[in-house]
C-alpha cells in the first residue's frame, strides 16, 4: 500500500486540491481530511494547505488552529507525524505553536504572486531530503501575510540549530533573515511560505525563462518525493 498523505480542508482553504494532486503525482495515496473531523484516518503524513482559512479573519490561521482536526494533529505532530504547512498552513502551524514565529503583512502591504527562487538550507528533514544541500528552487509565492518574523533570540536559535529550511535569494516581503521556511527540531514539522505544490509540472508550474535562467517548472516536486521516500524507508 502506498504511503497515504492527508490534506486538511478548512472553510476558506484554497490549495487543498492542488496538494492532493501533488501527492498523487509522486505516487502517494491522497486522503481528504475535514476540519470538523478529529480522525486523521491513519494517514502517514499531513499537508496543511494554503488559502484563507476562516477568511484569515482575526489573524491568518488563528481560527483554524482551534478546529477539531487540529487537536488530533497537534498531538500527532508532537509524536512525530510528518506535517507540511504551506502558506496558510504555515500560519496555522505557528498559531498552534508547533513552529516558532509569526507571519505579518508583506513589506509593501500588497498580495504578491511571484515565482521566487529559494535556497534549500536544510535537506535533512522528512520533506526536503530529496534536495541537494544548497539547491536553488523556483517556486511561486502567493500571499499577503507572508512576512516571517520572530524575536532575535528565536531567529538566532533557528539559525544555530540549522532549522532555517529555505531562504529567498531576493527577499520579496521583508521576511526576517530572508526566511521562506523553517522546521521544528525533530525535522518532521515544516512550514513554508512558497507553494511547492504549484511547481510540479512544466505545463502549469513556473517554467520558462525566469530570473535570467531557464527553469523546468518542477522545482517543488522534491518536497513530495522526499516525504514519500522517508515514509517508505521508515
Amino acid at each position: 500500500m502506498p504511503a497515504r498523505i492527508g490534506v486538511v480542508t478548512f472553510p476558506g482553504t484554497l490549495d487543498d486540491q492542488q496538494a492532493l494532486r501533488a501527492a498523487a503525482a509522486v505516487g502517494a495515496g491522497p486522503v481528504e481530511l475535514w476540519h470538523k473531523d478529529r480522525d486523521l484516518h491513519q494517514v502517514d503524513a499531513v499537508v496543511l494547505p494554503g488559502g484563507f482559512s476562516y477568511g484569515d479573519y482575526l489573524r491568518a490561521g488563528a481560527i483554524a488552529r482551534f478546529s477539531p482536526v487540529m487537536d488530533t494533529l497537534i498531538d500527532a505532530a508532537r509524536g512525530g507525524l510528518p506535517v507540511l504547512g504551506i502558506c496558510n498552513g504555515f500560519q496555522v502551524l505557528c498559531e498552534a505553536h508547533l513552529l516558532e514565529g509569526a507571519m505579518i503583512r508583506n513589506g509593501d502591504l500588497h498580495f504578491i504572486n511571484r515565482d521566487v527562487t529559494v535556497r534549500i538550507e536544510n535537506n535533512r528533514t522528512a520533506w526536503t531530503s530529496d534536495y541537494e544541500a544548497g539547491a536553488e528552487a523556483v517556486i511561486p509565492i502567493k500571499n499577503v501575510d507572508g512576512r516571517f518574523v520572530a524575536d532575535e533570540r528565536t531567529l538566532d536559535t533557528l539559525e544555530a540549530e540549522g532549522r532555517v529550511l529555505a531562504r529567498y535569494l531576493a527577499n520579496p516581503n521583508g521576511a526576517a533573515r530572508d526566511i521562506a521556511g523553517i522546521t521544528n527540531a525533530a525535522g518532521n514539522v515544516v512550514g513554508l511560505m512558497p507553494h511547492p505544490e504549484y511547481a510540479i509540472d512544466e505545463l502549469t508550474g513556473p517554467a520558462g525563462f525566469i530570473e535570467n535562467r531557464r527553469v523546468p517548472g518542477t522545482d517543488g516536486l522534491p518536497f513530495f518525493t522526499s516525504i514519500l521516500k522517508s515514509l517508505v524507508s521508515a
Partner: protein
C-alpha cells in the same frame, strides 16, 4: 384611474402612516389611499413609468412594490434603452451547435466537447468603483463569479479589463491601487485564478473609471442550472450571507421615512464584500448541484431579493409566495423596502422540491451556511410577499422581469464626427521621428508609456496559479486554463482574451467594436485555441444624448455583423450607460471577450522568444495607419482620422494559420500585433523569453509602396501577428500561409548574444533593428518594467 395626485413634491410620509395600524405600507392601504404622493422621481422613474405601474396594478403601488418596479425598470436591470439594439446579437447570431444557452440567462453556455460545457460573462462595476475603489472592484468580482456559479458551474478563472484616467493624475493614484487591491483581495480569497485583463489609461476615464470583470466556469453539459421556479409547492430557500443595509442606494428615499432623528445614519450605497463567505458558498452550491438538490437557482446581485424572486417566479410556474420577514437580517431595523432593495453580497436563492429540503439544509449545515425557507412556488401568476402578517406585495412577476419599458432613444451621427475623422495623422499633420536615434528614442518612450508599460506591479497582486490549471496567465496573448476541475485528467482547455479600444471606437464606433472583437479573436487564436463565442461589456455615456446613442447603435451593429462573419455568437454580456463626468461622456468603449477551445493544452503557443536562431515571421499586411494609435496618443496627444481598416476574412485566415501552426507543432512563439505595433510585440516577446532579436524591417507595404521604418515599427494595422518558427519548420509554415493567401514576411531571427554593434563587448542580449539601432535588453527591461511600479508602487491602500 385618478392620477391627479401625482406630483414631484417630496413624499409626505406622515400623511401616509400616522393613522394606520402597521408602521409600513401594505397592499390593503395602497388600495384605499390612491391619493398618496409617491417618490417615484427620487427612485429614478418617469411619470409615464409610474402611471404604467398604477395601470398594471389597478391601484397605486405599495411602497415595497414601488421600490421593486423602480429598480427592476431601471436602466441597469431592464436594459430599456439598449434592448432594441441588443436584439441584433440574437437575430444575426451565427448558427452554431456549440451554443447551449444564449443571452438572457445569468450567463451564456457553450459546448466545448468531451461532455463539458463552459459558461462565461463579463460585467461592469464602474460607478461603485469610482466611489469606493476597493469594495466596488471586489464586489464586481464577487457578482460575476456568482452569475457563473448560478449556471451550475465551478468558477475556474476571472479576468479584469480596467480603464482609468491619466496615469499621473492624483485621482488615478486613489482609484487604481484600490481597484487592483479589491480585485485581488476578493478573487484571491475565493481561490479563482485571475488569468488576464487589461489596464488602460485615457483622460476620458478620469471621473469615471471602467471596472469590468469576467468570469468563466466549467460543468458537465448535462448539469446546466437555470434561473426558474417551476412546480407549485416547491420551497424557495434563501441561503448565504444575511441581508444588511449595504447597497440600498435609491431605496433610502423610502427608508428615510422610518429613520428617527437619532436613528442610524444612512448606510453606504456601495456594497461591502465578504469573499470568505462567497468561497464557502461556492463549495456549498457545488455540493448541492452535484447531489441534484435544486430545480432552479438564482444569485442575488443588482436589486437583490427583488430581482431574484421576480426572475425566478417569472421564468417558472408563474407565482411565488414569500414571507419577507423571515429573511435573516444583519440589522433588525431594516424596513421591507430596504430588505427588497438591499444588494448585500454572497446571497443565493434556490427552488427545492419539498422532499429534498432536508438534504439541501444538511449541505448548508456542513458548510456553516445560513439557509432559510422564505416561501414557495405557486400557480397563482402572482408574486406575493408578507411582512409580519400583512401583504405588502401582490404583483404579476412578468411585468417586473420581462415587461418593463422599452425605449427607442433618438440617435444621430454627431456633428463633430466628420471633422474628427478628417483629422488624419499624416506625416504632414504630426511630426514623425526621423533617423535611427529618434526611432530608438520613440521605441523606448512607447514601451514605457502607461498603456504599453509592463503591469506586473498590479498583476502580481492577483493569484493566477490557484486551482493548478492555469496554463497561460498574464502577459500572454490570452489566458488559458485546463478544464480538469470538471473532468479530471483531461487535456481540454479554454483560452480567453478581452480587448477594447475606446479611441478606435470614438473615431468609428462600428469599426471600433469590430476591431475589439478582432483583436480578442486574434489573441485567442495566437495561443492555439479555436475562437468559439463572445461576451461583451458595452461601456458608454448617457443614452439620453443622441450622439452617445448613435455610438451605441453603431457599436452593436458592428459587433453583431462581425460576430456573424467570424462565426462566434454573443452569448451574453452587460451594458453600462451613464459613464460620464459632468456632461462629458467617456469614449465609447465596447470591451469584447472571446472564448476559445483547445483540445490539448500541451499544444498551447506562448509569446516568449526563447530559442536562439529561430526565424521571425510577420503575418499580415502593414499600412500607414496611425489613427487612434498609441503613438499618436502618447507622443502627440492626438486623436483623429480613422482606425485601422479591418478585413474580417483576413482575421479568420490568420486565426486558422495560427491554430494550425500550434496544432502541427510548427510554432515556438506567437504574439498578435496591436497597440504599439511590431515594435511593442517584439519587445514583449524578447523580454519574456530573455532573448534578443535581430529585426530586418520589410521595405514595402501590401500595395507595393515603400514602407518607412517608422511605419513598419509602430503602425497598428489590424490582422497581423509575429511568430517564431524553428528553421526546420519555416518552409512548411510559409507554404501554408501562401496556400491560404496570408501575406508572410521574414523579419528577423531570435538572438542569444549580440553579434555586432557596441554591446558586443559585454556579450549582452540586444534587440537590433538592422540598419537602424540597437538596444540592450537590460535597457529595454528598465524602460518597460520600471514606469508602472514607479507610478503606483508607493501608493498606500486601505485593504
Amino acid at each position: 384611474m385618478s392620477t391627479g395626485h401625482v406630483s414631484d413634491q417630496p413624499f409626505d410620509t406622515t400623511s401616509v402612516f400616522e393613522d394606520t395600524a402597521a408602521a409600513f405600507d401594505t397592499v390593503a392601504k395602497a388600495a384605499t389611499t390612491p391619493e398618496v404622493k409617491q417618490p417615484y422621481r427620487e427612485l429614478g422613474m418617469t411619470e409615464d413609468e409610474y402611471l404604467r405601474v398604477r395601470e398594471i396594478l389597478g391601484r397605486r403601488p405599495s411602497s415595497s412594490e414601488l421600490a421593486m418596479y423602480s429598480v427592476m425598470w431601471s436602466e441597469h436591470c431592464s436594459y430599456k434603452s439598449s434592448r432594441v439594439h441588443l436584439k441584433q446579437f440574437g437575430e444575426k447570431a451565427p448558427k452554431t451547435a456549440a451554443l447551449l444557452v444564449g443571452p438572457g440567462e445569468n450567463a451564456g453556455v457553450v459546448d466545448v466537447g468531451e461532455g463539458l460545457a463552459v459558461t462565461f460573462k463579463v460585467e461592469s462595476h464602474n460607478h461603485p468603483s469610482y466611489v469606493e475603489p476597493y469594495q466596488g472592484a471586489a464586489t464586481g468580482v464577487g457578482g460575476i463569479v456568482r452569475d457563473i456559479l448560478t449556471m451550475g458551474a465551478r468558477p475556474i478563472a476571472v479576468m479584469d479589463p480596467l480603464r482609468f484616467g491619466p496615469a499621473d493624475a492624483p485621482d488615478t493614484a486613489r482609484v487604481l491601487p484600490g481597484v487592483v487591491a479589491g480585485v485581488g483581495g476578493y478573487g484571491n480569497c475565493l481561490g479563482v485564478p485571475n488569468i488576464g485583463g487589461e489596464i488602460v489609461f485615457d483622460p476620458c476615464y478620469l471621473g469615471n473609471p471602467l471596472v469590468n470583470a469576467l468570469c468563466v466556469g466549467v460543468m458537465r453539459a448535462d448539469e446546466i442550472k437555470l434561473a426558474k421556479a417551476p412546480g407549485p409547492g416547491n420551497q424557495v430557500i434563501l441561503f448565504g450571507a444575511r441581508t444588511g443595509g449595504d447597497g440600498i442606494g435609491g431605496a433610502s428615499v423610502l427608508a428615510s421615512a422610518t429613520f428617527d432623528e437619532d436613528g442610524p445614519a444612512k448606510r453606504p450605497s456601495v456594497q461591502v464584500g465578504d469573499p470568505f463567505m462567497e468561497k464557502v458558498l461556492i463549495e456549498c452550491c457545488l455540493e448541492i448541484f452535484a447531489a441534484d438538490l435544486v430545480v432552479g437557482i438564482q444569485d442575488l446581485g443588482a436589486a437583490g431579493l427583488t430581482c431574484s424572486t421576480t426572475e425566478l417566479a417569472a421564468a417558472g410556474t408563474g407565482g411565488m409566495d414569500v414571507r419577507l420577514d423571515a429573511a435573516p437580517l444583519r440589522d433588525s431595523t431594516l424596513t421591507p423596502e430596504e430588505v427588497l432593495m438591499s444588494e448585500s453580497q454572497e446571497r443565493m436563492m434556490a427552488v427545492v422540491e419539498p422532499a429534498k429540503v432536508e438534504a439541501f439544509l444538511a449541505v448548508c449545515e456542513k458548510w456553516d451556511v445560513t439557509a432559510t425557507a422564505l416561501g414557495e412556488v405557486t400557480d397563482t401568476g402572482r408574486l406575493r410577499m408578507w411582512w409580519h402578517g400583512e401583504v405588502i406585495v401582490d404583483v404579476p412577476p412578468r411585468t417586473l422581469a420581462h415587461e418593463g419599458p422599452v425605449y427607442n432613444r433618438p440617435f444621430a451621427r454627431p456633428q463633430w464626427q466628420d471633422a474628427l475623422q478628417a483629422d488624419v495623422p499624416t506625416a504632414a499633420r504630426l511630426r514623425r521621428p526621423e533617423g535611427a536615434d529618434e526611432l530608438r528614442e520613440t521605441l523606448l518612450k512607447l514601451v514605457g508609456s502607461p498603456n504599453l508599460a509592463d503591469k506586473t506591479w498590479a498583476l502580481e497582486q492577483y493569484d493566477h496559479r490557484v486551482q493548478g490549471n492555469t496554463v497561460l496567465g498574464h502577459g500572454e496573448d490570452s489566458g488559458m486554463v485546463r478544464l480538469d476541475a470538471a473532468l479530471p485528467g483531461t487535456s481540454l482547455g479554454v483560452a480567453l482574451s478581452t480587448d477594447g479600444n475606446g479611441r478606435f471606437a470614438k473615431l468609428d464606433p462600428y469599426a471600433g467594436a469590430q476591431l475589439a472583437l478582432a483583436e480578442a479573436y486574434r489573441n485567442v487564436a495566437a495561443t492555439g485555441a479555436r475562437p468559439l463565442a463572445v461576451t461583451d461589456c458595452l461601456n458608454f455615456g448617457s443614452p439620453e444624448d443622441p450622439d452617445v446613442m448613435w455610438q451605441f447603435a453603431e457599436a452593436c451593429r458592428g459587433l453583431a455583423d462581425a460576430c456573424l462573419e467570424l462565426g462566434t455568437p454573443v452569448t451574453g454580456g452587460n451594458v453600462s450607460f451613464y459613464n460620464q463626468t459632468g456632461e462629458v461622456n467617456i469614449h465609447p468603449t465596447p470591451v469584447v471577450g472571446v472564448l476559445g477551445v483547445i483540445d490539448d493544452v500541451d499544444r498551447r503557443t506562448r509569446g516568449a522568444f526563447e530559442r536562439e536562431g529561430e526565424i521571425l515571421l510577420l503575418l499580415g499586411d502593414t499600412r500607414d495607419e496611425f489613427g487612434g494609435s498609441e503613438w499618436a496618443h502618447e507622443v502627440h496627444g492626438h486623436l483623429g482620422g480613422l482606425p485601422p481598416r479591418l478585413d474580417l476574412h483576413r482575421e479568420k485566415v490568420l486565426g486558422e494559420v495560427l491554430i494550425a501552426g500550434s496544432r502541427d507543432g510548427m510554432l515556438s512563439a506567437a504574439h498578435d500585433l496591436s497597440d504599439g505595433g511590431l515594435a511593442q510585440a517584439v519587445v514583449e516577446s524578447c523580454l519574456r523569453g530573455g532573448h534578443g532579436a535581430r529585426l530586418v524591417l520589410p521595405e514595402t507595404d501590401a500595395d507595393g509602396n515603400a514602407l518607412d521604418p517608422f511605419v513598419a515599427l509602430f503602425s497598428e494595422s489590424a490582422g497581423r501577428a509575429v511568430v517564431a518558427v524553428p528553421r526546420s519548420e519555416e518552409l512548411r509554415f510559409t507554404d501554408m500561409c501562401v496556400a491560404r493567401g496570408l501575406p508572410v514576411a521574414r523579419v528577423g531571427v531570435v538572438d542569444g548574444t549580440v553579434l555586432s554593434g557596441e554591446a558586443v563587448l559585454s556579450g549582452e542580449a540586444v534587440l537590433e533593428v538592422q540598419g537602424q539601432f540597437t538596444v540592450p535588453l537590460t535597457e529595454l527591461r528598465a524602460a518597460h518594467e520600471g514606469p508602472f511600479r514607479k507610478l503606483f508602487g508607493h501608493s498606500v491602500v486601505d485593504a
